[in-house]
Amino acid sequence: MQISNKRWSTDYFFEQRKRVLSMWPTGNGVSLTDAFAYHHAMNPLKNASNKAMEAKRKGLTLMCPSTGKDTISAHTNLLKYMQDEAKVQFVTTYIDSLTRNCKFDVAKQELQKANDTGKPRLNGFPVVEHGVMGNRAVIDALDIPVLLFGPTPDARLTHEIGLAGGHTGYSGGPLISFWNYTKNVPVESIIHNFQYINRLMGHYEENGVPMMYCVSGAMPATSPPSIMVAPEIIEVLIAAAQGVKHVQLNCWVQGHFAQDLAMILTFQKLTREYLDRFGFTDVKTTTYSVSPTGRFPVAHDQVYGLIAYYAVLGVMGKVQLIGSRTIDEAHHIPTIEGTAHSFRCAGMVINMLQNQNFNVLDNPAVKEEAYYMEIEVRAILDKVLELGSGDIVLGTKLAIEQGVLDQPYSTSQLVKSKVLGVKDCTGAARFYDFGNLPFDSDIKAFHLSKIAEREKQLGCKVDYETVVKDLTAVSEGYILPEFIGSSL
């Protein structure tokens, strides 16, 4: 499959579209004319892009939980509870993983059981199986924007039905889906599926319906931010080429203030720069921050601490949307109440902090982090563009093969997975193994010197064991494993 970063022709899109809609019977229920009318009739602030842009104008940080239940009534109750009790300003429809993998028949059977028994059977909302009207039943019950949520290689039909069903955005992306959700699906076929989604969103935009596309790049796992930012900017450029106009930048925060804030800044700066370089000057960006996906502490009290901590980070980073793990995270799919408690905790912090305008973004430590992050991201992206002779999509395919784009703990067997992260003695993520990243000796020296400091503190070499322990330290209550249980 040979693809490029060119805008799809209308013909090509609608030809593809026929096949997509026929993947499952509910596909026939989608009418774009009807969908546009439905969205035009919607309160403008129920549209995700409008609301996120308004938050940006007003300097507000809003909240968005990621949740989903299987049946319509369960999902509606969940989202309404979030809106009314947790006081969040956005909600999402978490797509269940059977639907994400297009196992629509199995998902339908399980949904049937859930409907029959009243007991949950799926780990999210089966968007496709519920059809357009099923989706609208949920959306109509709410006053706030609802996003689709969930990376996966093929969410085309989910988007057809989800967007026509009243969702006004999506969080995911081709690269995160590739790195973290597939075993051997070639990246080009995933990108192709996302070009479809992006083109569909572009089509909505052209018909006066803003659609918010939240890129996600790559899941962190003690990852120096450049290896998350670079794939995210690639996702932005792919989306922009297909006509997406409202992009949200997913800032994966890992708990290190200077590094996380630097990421939030660098990500915005470079996204603007690369968008403009390719002429996408009318694409608007907003930001979203969410805590890392490493294992969470089991004790609620500690998780509350983490949730609040990340809320402080998000507000100080001046992001528009904050996501959050929940107090139930380590145990099971969050209960409605558990999620509400978590967001009420985060909300408390936001409501304390956001009007203070306490600016820490020009902190010297933030600047140091941003300095290296920026040249790292540029080094990666420029190499990708070079490989693709200026085409970011071609370049991405080749860069992955060569490990110029790489991730630790990837689920894909098509990934080098040579790159590895480890923490320095302040808890920032550094490169333990640079793999084939196209970095100069300056960058490498910076990372190695930071690791050397940690080794000095540890009194021994950092090794693979350290790498493993760094991954789960936070779940044991500390940013660094060597401090677990230590005190004066």
């Binding site: 993983s97 959700y181 703990y409």
Partner: protein, 153 residues
């Protein structure tokens, strides 16, 4: 004849549409350090793929990881497939986060034991603990221990 740890072969992997790979990667690392032969199937494996790999590598055990909450749907036919393939006695071990609702651990454990697993681990089981249990299950005595501890002697 006493078999040493290096004589044991394990198949590891994540079953079904589940992508949670980090936990089993860590287990694999620990198992290899301990001395086991580990064949890793990564994510997205069917029961058939586990059985095929076990046959191919003459494995002593299959270690299945599942975190997405659908374990009950995904693992039910593993034992019967093993039996059909002529390796009905192979040790089957399950770990991860198995159910999406809250229930007493014994309920969860019994559910999967009765599906034919020999050992079902609680969530968050640490590598050392899981390995100790595996050694008991596979009848590996302390004397045959190699790997990190032995090498420290």
């Amino acid at each position: 004849m006493q078999r040493s740890i290096t004589d044991f072969t394990l198949i590891t992997g994540v079953i079904g549409e589940d992508v949670h790979v980090t936990g089993i990667r860590i287990m694999e690392h620990a198992l290899r350090t301990e001395g086991f032969n580990v064949f890793s199937l990564g994510i997205h494996n069917t029961s058939d793929e586990f059985v095929k790999a076990a046959l191919e590598h003459k494995a002593d055990a299959i270690l299945v990881s599942s975190l997405c909450g659908h374990a009950e749907i995904l693992v039910r036919d593993l034992r019967s497939k093993c039996t059909d393939a002529g390796i009905g006695n192979i040790h089957l071990c399950l770990g991860g986060q198995l159910v999406i609702h809250e229930e007493p651990w014994s309920t969860t454990e019994n559910r999967f034991l009765s599906m034919g697993f020999d050992r079902v681990h609680r969530p968050f089981i640490l590598p050392n603990e899981a390995i100790s249990a595996l050694k008991v299950d596979l009848n590996i005595t302390q004397d045959s221990v190699v790997g990190q501890f032995k090498s420290q002697l």
